[in-house]
Symmetry: C2
Subunit: 359 residues, 2 copies
């Protein structure tokens, strides 16, 4: 087992990473009282719920379970409201821990419910997808979508611990692996070109579900994410860089209907757009752009977005949380391995890039 | 103008108190960018909205306004959802400040919307009732009710400033003044018997809407509240004492239908119950209990709760946020001016007190 710590002013929390950890983790030591409420979805429940509940049973921990429907289209305030109703019916107390077992949607939804139920109860994230293990379960962001835009409603609610069992990736679909890889590649692009090299060398192992390679990719991603969170919990500075490709990507997800494009697929296409814009701004070379595209290709991600028309892209991008005084703020690449937040007001170049990168 | 500071690890914020402040406050210095979104209700809007918007206009601040229906029965997730929809339609940005103009319901509702919109935007509280000026607007508690119990869903979201203009109390109904006095009396009961004496001496001035006396009562209450918040923001220790009477009171509010009993009315009756229980536990004398009742009488508050039956009281009290391992935690009086958190498991005495104190 490897452990990474997220260091925050209000206390640190561990990210434990290891094959088989779902069954073997020491849950008891992470709880305030021996009671838990598990929130999961109807895809994950048949696969991994009994492994978790057996472990809790063996450790003398009481639990209840809430199972919700699977998918991004349920990541909304209505589902949160249903979870809250159930927490109240079950008389879940303030010191009972909510365990979010599932992918990014479960982590966001259940994490948000934990943030606002009784003004906040303890939370443990047990991510079961590559995307949530390598990125989404760490850092405390929780929330839901709104028809107008992604993740517009939410709260920062740090977990007490993150427990990552890469063995749960064995059942993951190819699309879900691809989606996770988009966020893994992100860490290399914004701050460590050597990690890009590692990914290129080891991508074939990841595709073979090689446990050691998966664990390494997740571990390194968690190190980047933990450091960014420790430096800038509220995301007013360096943590913003982790949003590369996301302003474009959120527009794609919203336009296509939540769940049609997986988050990582949209982020992959969005990151390619960010790379093209970085090149036109004169920061990176066309070879660098090709390098980014080839990485996305290796990850079997789309390198073009849907043809929505640049007007529609710009309109949706305008709803981004980072917008200030009506002006977009985008994450662009200074070089491979280094990114910057840029206030972007020029319109023609942006439209051209969107046009070029969508089909 | 008097100013009290709430001191927190993440920064301090001021509570400015002064007659006429609604028109005169320096809003510009409190905003991150010169734009604001005002949330108020249809009772307060015709009375005080134009005073505020004129002041913002004069200071070159752009604003939009959201007006919601008045009353505790609207303090729910549906209304929050409507506010969020409107914030999104208006494309309110992350650095725009939400100004909550109104009583405790507006502070809680709009404060909660500010807490979860884009994972949190700046908030200024401008309370316009005695209850919210003396208590609810300070300390960062925000949230909504659930059919099962009061304030079950919410977030801690500290304001950037609280602006209190006691002149807005001139239009307040007698019931609303009484309701506020319950929370004012609370501060004396739990930590300063000399303030109880001041209240007895000055109650007739408060009832005549004497501006100086009102300002003094609010100022002293804010000092107590600011200190409790600074000591224990998350309410795991001493701040819990401010909930005296609230476990009983919330049961009354929930049972009767939100808005039927005003919050302070229910807290007043609940505080009398807490006093009786404190006496039966052998901590205070029957003269002390009479003293508490006479204070509530001076404040024109009910000293008896509704006759719901003690079973119903206990059932509703069991939903309290302070319940731990199924056990009630109540705030009781050690003497007038000193309170303690007590884990309460004895049933008969509690039933007898509820029976005695309801009619």
């Amino acid at each position: 087992m490897k452990t990474v710590y997220v260091k925050l002013s209000q206390g640190n929390y561990p990210i434990h990473i290891g094959p088989g950890l779902l069954a073997k983790a020491d849950y008891q030591s992470l709880l305030q009282q021996p009671s838990a409420i598990i929130v999961t979805d109807d895809t994950v429940a048949p696969l991994y719920l009994s492994t978790l509940t057996n472990a809790l049973d063996n450790q003398g921990i009481n639990f209840e379970t809430i199972v919700i429907p699977t998918g991004e289209s349920y990541k909304n305030l209505e589902t949160v409201s249903l979870i809250l109703d159930r927490l109240l019916e079950l008389k879940i107390e303030r010191k009972t821990t909510l365990i979010a077992l599932g992918g990014g949607v479960i982590g966001d939804l259940a994490g948000f419910a934990a943030a606002i139920y009784l003004r906040g109860i303890p939370l443990i994230q047990i991510p079961t997808t590559l995307l949530s293990q390598a990125d989404a379960s760490v850092g405390g962001k929780t929330g839901v979508n709104h028809p107008y835009s992604k993740n517009m409603i939410g709260a920062l609610h740090q977990p007490k611990a993150v427990i990552i069992d890469p063995d749960t990736l064995q059942t993951l679909s190819e699309r879900e692996i691809s989606s996770g890889l988009a966020e893994v590649i992100k860490f290399g692009l914004i701050q460590d070109a050597s990690f890009l090299h590692w990914l290129e060398t080891n991508m074939h192992r990841l595709w073979k579900h090689d446990s050691e390679a998966l664990t390494e990719a997740i571990y390194r991603s968690c190190c980047y994410k933990a450091e960014a969170t420790s430096q800038d919990e509220a995301e007013t500075g360096p943590r913003l860089l982790l949003n590369i490709g996301h302003t474009f990507g959120h527009a794609i997800e919203t336009a296509m209907g939540y769940g049609e494009w997986l988050h990582g697929e949209a982020v992959g296409a969005g990151t390619v757009m960010a790379a093209h814009l970085s090149q036109r701004a004169g920061w990176i070379s066309s070879d660098d752009v090709k390098h980014v595209e080839s990485l996305m290709h290796l990850a079997r991600l789309p390198i073009r977005g849907p043809r929505l028309g640049s007007q529609r892209y710009l309109e949706l991008m305008q709803n981004d949380k980072k917008v200030e005084n009506g002006r977009l703020r985008l994450i662009l690449l200074k070089k491979l391995g280094k990114a910057e937040v840029v206030t972007w007001t020029e319109r023609t170049m942006l439209e051209n890039v969107i046009h070029h990168c969508s089909h």
